[in-house]
Subunit: 424 residues, 2 copies
């Protein structure tokens, strides 16, 4: 794998449409990718996220994307300062993910630690998966790609694959991604369950439910147990924000983007984020979709959720059979028949725990999108608040069920049964 070019910027300064061509011309692989003279490059700022400037730059030969961190949370404004270093962590994560699964992340051309910028492949005509799902598009390779991304990126950054020294060296870097982890700790695991200035929900329709969740002691205790796992279980390099807005797709291609929240955490957090957002999309379609067409697409999404999970588990275990080069479960101890049988039992237990974690984290991610600060377009786009509240109540009920029943559920069928019971 080619390592990204390191830009040596003296001090941080926000890039703009004027300064960008000069900046990019100094990066050989980018100049080649764009082609022609810098004067001919077209630059467009397109950032619609909460945290960054995003530029698309196109030249005669091709395009690149430049993403630069802003020193505050764009959604809230300058009152919420945010470390610029998150750009560096995104470049580190993209680099490690590219080692594991190069075809499912954007190519990284260059990183600029001081300038807090990265230069990446311009994905075109890719669109955000969330929008594709809202449009009712059926993407035939989606589940295959997402399950591969999860299996490869998680297995190959875990102790099952990496020697302990490499794992600790990587983890040491990512321990620095403190602020973005803290956002998750607060916004996903804590704020939806207490009075917090950033929370919002469809009001007055959800007022009573929001109050009930804040008073739901057993639920809060389980969510905090999951938060403890998030804080302590350094199982693999997780993307950290793997919702359907962090996936770009075409009919045939899939790429995971925006891993700025990456850190060494529990594998179930990434799988749970994806499954949660697919379940939200399915419920949204069931509530406001077009009759039978809406129902059929809802079923398609649920099928994809199941395929993502079953594909992930199959691929993860296959990697464990063939690429167990890490320091965990030292392979040579299990080379004979008895060893293989004993290891297989441990693998079953490992996957069962991972399933429970996935469900718990999925539930947390569903609830925070209804009662917390950041919401999702699948539901926000339902203009009628009464109809939106119907969908949101279902998402909340399902999220709560997944958290509280996660250790009793034994397979994805149990998830689908829960969906059918709640989403009628």
């Amino acid at each position: 794998m080619e390592e990204p070019f390191r830009v040596q910027t003296g001090q941080y300064r926000p890039l703009n449409e004027e300064s960008l061509a000069t900046y990019l011309a100094a990066i050989p692989s980018v100049a080649v990718t764009l082609g022609g003279e810098p004067a001919a490059w077209r630059v467009k700022e397109v950032g619609d996220g909460n945290l960054n400037l995003v530029f698309i730059v196109e030249g005669p030969a091709g395009g690149v994307v430049v993403k630069q961190a802003l020193p505050y949370l764009r959604l809230v404004g300058e009152s919420w300062p945010l470390a610029l270093e998150r750009s560096y962590f995104e470049s580190l994560a993209l680099t490690e993910q590219a080692r594991a699964t190069p075809d499912l992340v954007p190519r990284l051309f260059a990183t600029d630690r001081v300038g807090a910028a990265i230069v990446m492949e311009y994905l075109q005509p890719h669109i955000i998966l969330r929008k594709a799902l809202m449009q009712g598009r059926k993407l035939e390779n989606l589940a295959e790609h997402l399950s591969t991304f999860l299996a490869e990126s998680l297995f190959k950054t875990s102790d099952l694959y990496l020697p302990a020294d490499r794992k600790k060296t990587l983890m040491q870097e990512f321990c620095g991604n403190i602020e973005l982890c803290k956002i998750t700790e607060d916004l996903v695991f804590t704020d939806p369950y207490r009075i917090s200035a950033g929370n919002r929900w469809t009001s007055p329709q959800l007022d009573d439910t929001a109050a009930a969740f804040r008073a739901d002691a057993p639920l809060k205790a389980e969510v905090q147990a999951l938060k403890l796992k998030f804080l302590t279980n350094a199982e693999a390099l997780v993307h950290g924000d793997l919702h359907t807005g962090s996936i770009m797709v075409t009919e045939l291609e899939t790429r995971a983007i925006d891993p700025e929240f990456a850190f060494f955490g529990p594998m179930g957090f990434d799988a749970g984020a994806l499954i949660a957002n697919l379940l939200i999309a399915a419920i949204a379609h069931g509530v406001h979709g077009q009759g039978e067409l809406g129902d059929a697409y809802r079923t398609w999404i649920l099928d994809q959720a199941e395929l993502v999970w079953t594909g992930f588990t199959t691929k993860f275990r296959a990697l464990w059979e063939t690429e167990a080069t890490g320091d965990a479960f030292t392979a040579e101890l299990f080379a004979d028949a008895a060893g293989r049988a004993a290891l297989s039992e441990q693998q079953d237990r490992y996957m069962a725990n991972l399933f429970a974690d996935m469900l718990g984290f999925a539930g947390c991610k569903m609830i925070r999108r209804i009662l917390g600060l950041a919401h999702v377009e699948d539901l926000e786009s339902i203009a009628d608040p009464d109809i939106r509240a119907v969908a949101e109540h279902k998402v909340l009920a399902l999220g709560r069920r997944l958290i509280l029943s996660r250790n009793a559920m034994t397979g994805f069928n149990d998830v689908l049964h829960a969906v059918e019971e709640i989403d009628i």
Copy 2:
């Protein structure tokens, strides 16, 4: 808490009895502690460990200990190079432990990162706990102190107490302690279960048992599951080598020393190390002790093991009630009666998991002392190999039982029952 003085040495060079006085005279707090003129200070090299030079320096007013890392494993010789940085990690760990429980660790006067040395309080007339146990001494404060050390040092470096940013910053430092963690990963969790050049055991008495352990697939699988926890579960700053040779005692005082293996790992590892070594001491006294006197002392040690565990759990939970300032289990979510009840259930579960972890790690620590590289004097001092092998068989059987039954055992009584069944 006073931070240790930082010595600025230009390059690493082993200290010796000639160079030491000049070295120490430049450290104000040490010069005061020793008193008088450097020419009057008496220096003695006393290192009997495997990894370091240790000097006792005495002046007219008092003494200090200087511990300097050697660039190889002293026990094996220069063929086994070892990072000098472990001295730095020891100083970091001593500093953090002193924040949590200042009376139970030696005072740290100075650290020298490049020189790989630390200057500490000279503990006198303290002796190593392992030797005190071999001598049959009953130390009335021992269990009280050890349980306090475990509770304070683990709780106060965990996410239950530390805010997430402080925990991640500390953890980032300790991620660098790669080599010493690797020693544990290999010597405790892996080598005793495979053919390895460093392994030794009482032969031929234990030959068949050693072979049976290498072929015991379910045991190996459980040990590797514990190793995975060691690799991934960053619960607290653990001492990492808390056997009875890392504790110094007088009749009334107790200090934990030598935390050079420290890292962010599972809490049960420290508790298990202590309990394991107490159980080994008890079994050794039962086998070669002096009749009724030996039996009475064996019972005293077992009582201490139980008191360490029950004292630890009581103190740990008390800290969780009164000092839950960390980001895990955010205290404000559990302020009302229902919240307290739900949190209490989670605490029960947390302590039950910690008990199982402790048992599993204790079992691993017992087995490695019989079949692995490093043995313990409690057993090595039994001159007759037939008698020693009787004790070692019991230790192995108990260790194996603790690992395989750790999730079925519900309290320390179950441990004592297992001891009585095996040690008859």
